[in-house]
Subunit: 366 residues, 4 copies
């Protein structure tokens, strides 16, 4: 598996830079005969699109997805599906001043050390714009899972549950609220305070971090592969593999480390339904035990650092290691956490799709 590929059976390979001609992905391993059209992908891209509201980057992109392969007469063929998005609002010259400077909190210095060459325009390959490949691939994964009876009931929702110091109330989580506000916040009551914090931060030329929670329900038991390719390990990898993520929790997460065994164990009772997932009396585990789904809802959280690009003046160095003062203007998100929600949702679909195929391969109910 290569560095720009994610997944073992249902996999995708991502390519493209922020200010190059195009970005896209090649999805490999999707079973044949899954209904798929550009119209299944476009709405997912639209949700993460820059310029969608004033709290995200104002770059003017339509992010129009073209399927170049792998679909015939409205159905997948079992062959690789290339989805391409051409860049339209490239402004490489906006970045001329950043050519030889390492922006604090960005990949610039580390990537320069690694590669000795760097497409500095808008972060190049390390731009958040790369995540459109994940969202496009995730839309294919969602479509695929929808085509099999056993997984058609899966629902995945990701919402912003904290922005800076403002926290949503997890108990008030409402899936339908997520798309009803520009912050993907599942708790409408928290939105005004979040917006206020954002306004104030933008006025000060600063940025905010946040936390995104992802919830997946209807996931069949038995997904995930012990020992190293566990469902929770893969979720952790996928979340931490997103720009700016610095922490991941499954179920109770760090709170579990402070609990006693008697409080943290999810006890069980005979399920009237006869289904394992209905046996559990609680869900501290977040739907994963021994690296494998239990059928209970899977819950995870990703901690996202504040956007490193801020207009407040900061000290840094250049390629020659000399001192520079920098104020990063431009079309940046004041809180990258906001647009992380649709991306993390996509990664969940991709993970579930991959483990579903792996389970099909390996099961023996004979």
């Amino acid at each position: 598996m290569n560095s720009n590929t994610f997944g073992r059976l249902f996999s995708f390979t991502s390519f493209g830079e922020s200010h190059g001609p195009a970005l896209g992905c090649v999805v490999d391993g999707c079973p044949p005969r899954v209904p798929l059209a550009e119209a299944d992908i476009q709405p997912r891209l639209d949700r993460r699109r820059p310029g969608a509201c004033r709290f995200v980057s104002q770059r003017g992109e339509t992010d129009r997805a073209r399927i170049l392969s792998g679909v015939f007469e409205g159905k997948t063929t079992g062959h690789p599906i290339c989805v391409l998005v051409e860049n339209q609002d490239q402004r490489p010259n906006d970045y001329r001043q950043l050519r030889d400077v390492f922006r604090p909190g960005h990949a610039d210095a580390a990537h320069a050390a690694k590669y000795g060459i760097r497409d500095h325009r808008g972060g190049g390959r390390s731009s958040a714009r790369e995540t459109l490949a994940r969202v496009a691939a995730g839309a294919v994964a969602r479509q695929m899972l929808g085509a099999f009876p056993e997984t058609a009931g899966i629902r995945v929702a990701a919402g912003l549950i904290a922005l800076g110091q403002v926290r949503a109330d997890p108990a008030k989580w409402d899936d339908s609220a997520i798309d009803a506000n520009p912050l993907f916040c599942p708790d409408p009551a928290a939105v005004p305070a979040m917006l206020a914090a954002l306004e104030e931060t933008m006025r000060g030329g600063d940025s905010l971090g946040g936390v995104v929670e992802i919830r997946a329900s209807g996931v069949p038991a038995g997904l995930g592969e012990p020992v190293y390719d566990r469902l929770d390990a893969r979720i952790a990898q996928a979340c931490m593999g997103l720009n700016a993520v610095k922490g991941v929790e499954i179920g109770d997460g760090f709170a579990a480390a402070r609990a006693s065994g008697s409080a943290n164990n999810d006890q069980m009772r005979r399920p009237a339904s006869g289904r394992l997932e209905d046996a559990f009396l609680s869900n501290h585990a977040g739907g994963v035990l021994g690296g494998v789904s239990t059928g209970q809802p899977i819950t995870a959280r990703a901690a996202i650092k504040p956007t490193p690009s801020i207009s407040i003046r900061q000290e840094t160095i250049g390629k020659d290691l000399g001192n520079v003062e920098i104020s990063v203007a431009g079309r940046h998100d004041p809180a990258v956490a906001i647009r992380a929600a649709p991306v993390l949702e996509a990664m969940f679909w991709l993970i579930l799709a991959d483990f579903f195929l792996l389970r099909r391969a390996g099961e023996n109910r004979g």
Copy 2:
């Protein structure tokens, strides 16, 4: 890459069950001519061995490592290295009562749903005993990195920084303290309170969670592969891939989500040494930017849930989904977090070894 294999170039495959004849690993991809003997592996295994003190499982195993292949006249040959540990203190009958019962908080129910067959003896494949394979492989990785000038200066230390409600002071971290107490705690001042909490918990038949921090210094810049195989993503996968881990943080972790960009960015100044890693004025990032090491110390934390096996009576179900009450007696760790420290250390060595080889393959300084 298969489920029981970890790593792309420097990889290992683990096998074995808690009460089967043996456990072990096959390390593949280790360069030739690295000095390696059983004496380089044994001390690492001894640190995680059960029975080492009264606060861990009392199972009587010597965990004697035999190298079966890949070493010739004291040096690696470039061929796969199999390290085998035969089980000696198997007591399968101790587990007879658990044959048809799903222990709360354990993999039992999920794995039964997945496989339809289950080696119930001491957790079978999902036993913490599997981690000796990781420790053995990690010892080979450590040896390998020690053999190359650029990585010979790497130091990795993992310590228990929280046990239940007791927290060590991160500022008092002392590498040399870690092996001087039975809890692998880097802050000697925190040990008495931790021990007291442990004693009390054991008396009550309950268990405790904890947090392990891992610190790696001397890591060269440029390790890690954007986009999906980032250094931090792989760390997250490896930590979450360990039994009982429910959360992972890199650098400031969840605290970064509450910070502003101006506070969280690591500003830089011209380094007198001319080395990038000396330019940073802080290390909120934990040594990783854009998925790639910066040369600063890498810091990560893993949240570990309390041992699910407790003697307090709990409600659960059996294979037939019928109700059972269970009290898990036996040779269990009161806090699995304690023995996680040597294992997480090993995983760090393995990750660094793999990314070091990947960087050697891909670099072009021409």
Copy 3:
């Protein structure tokens, strides 16, 4: 590694169908700072292009390659390189009659059994048109190897050494002759007879098979990974992975099976140059021993069956398994072996690039 990906470190993923909007590849793992432009790829594509002469498919494609990512200011960045070729001369209606018919000797029946859906237009994914992705990726591999001193001297040439019953004289192999005739034949003396055989076959509405030999010189010793990822095993996989190839030989190939050990062994004498490759007194092995390159020229041959599309009437069945008589008209190559030469050459570059990076990763000359 996914089905449409080839290579472990220097890898590429191919996508696209014969009559879809576009075909292309994503090359991952190319080191940074390698000079690369579309002009380095285009000439390689032009060599395998349909319509180049009257003995190959007359489809009118310019096969214009666009680099969409991974190159910045004329150099690779270390990030994935997407090369896209848009189809221009799609004529899906030409294939309407083939929609429900399984052409003899083609993938049609097997793929219908596998996928239950099939893009019948020009073979869809199983069209020889897919090989342009290999040629584009091979051009990148060639460019990469040219950028490192140790591999800059590698030369790869593939030539048609047999067409139907006509055989070229291997002793008269002349690299420079290959591009001087439309058949990629390295022995000019054999060309007239080959052309005559081709004319006659075309007149009869039939097709011919052939043999392509590939020779690589200047390959450093030590490439290839025992035990399963041997240089010769990978060559065999790559050759047999090309449409219509039914046999592969390395060095003396099947003739070695009839030889005695004393005749087949390549004896050695002290090399005046001090270089291992100069020690061998013969090269029955074809440059590979124990799966690893010796520094001698690598030689391989691929046996290619006659184009299955012929206008001679044949018996076959349709999707409903009912009887059909078929005469395949259209723009087919009378001998697919001809255009296989540039593709096999590309595969050699790709294999050598991958093993070169693998050797860099694993070597220890300390």
Copy 4:
């Protein structure tokens, strides 16, 4: 996938050297609940065992297989299966004279160039003794395929069809004859001439090459993954990945290159049985079209060079590149082709097992 691992879903990793303590394999990806015991593996190992008759190496090994993991109460658990064989008749001192000499036709020189260190004892890792890992893993694959209704009817047989200049008659192939003679020859009529050739060669201190044919029947249609991981490409890789193999053919192989399309195409007629595999009027393709099985018998041939170890005196060089004369005494097979048959059979089982699981993962008959 690492160099010592074969397979994507049903995979195995091999380890061990000819004169080290042990050899073995770790099979990963075997579905649970497959009946498996050491008695299913041992007979396969016994067939390839040295010392079984006077025409193979006289090394005295019992090759006793121990299953160390992955089996519980007579069934696989879905976890990795380690099979270990301890070496018993190590005679490292027999090889002392070869320590610094490169035997002609062996891996010695190439491996020395690659690794800079070499376990010279009996070929070390490049010994044919490594193939016992393949045979053990193949026995597990065979057992697994036997446990699923769709694949329970698969039969694989490999036989020696040529030894030196002596050729068996393919038309007289008789599966049951293979184990009735010490050469694994499927044509009893050819055995006397083969034995005579062998005797004469041994008297002269020389060795012979040979050809092994492998036939698999009962293989369901739809196995194999276009484009790069084709069934025939994988067969080619596996055959060429065996010591001493220099050529591979599928179906008509090199003869197809001399045929016309009208003669080589396998025409089809409506199958009375309604099954695709019964539609074909011939099997020039060897059961594979477009990289995918058609349901017809799969046929392949591997050309195996003569054993390079001969007692006839030969010129060679040593580690210091100086001239040496060498006569290789010891316990060598006069024709490695003989013992290749059981190994190639095992590789077929492994390939079919892997593609069967891949097909289960990817199919959609909904």
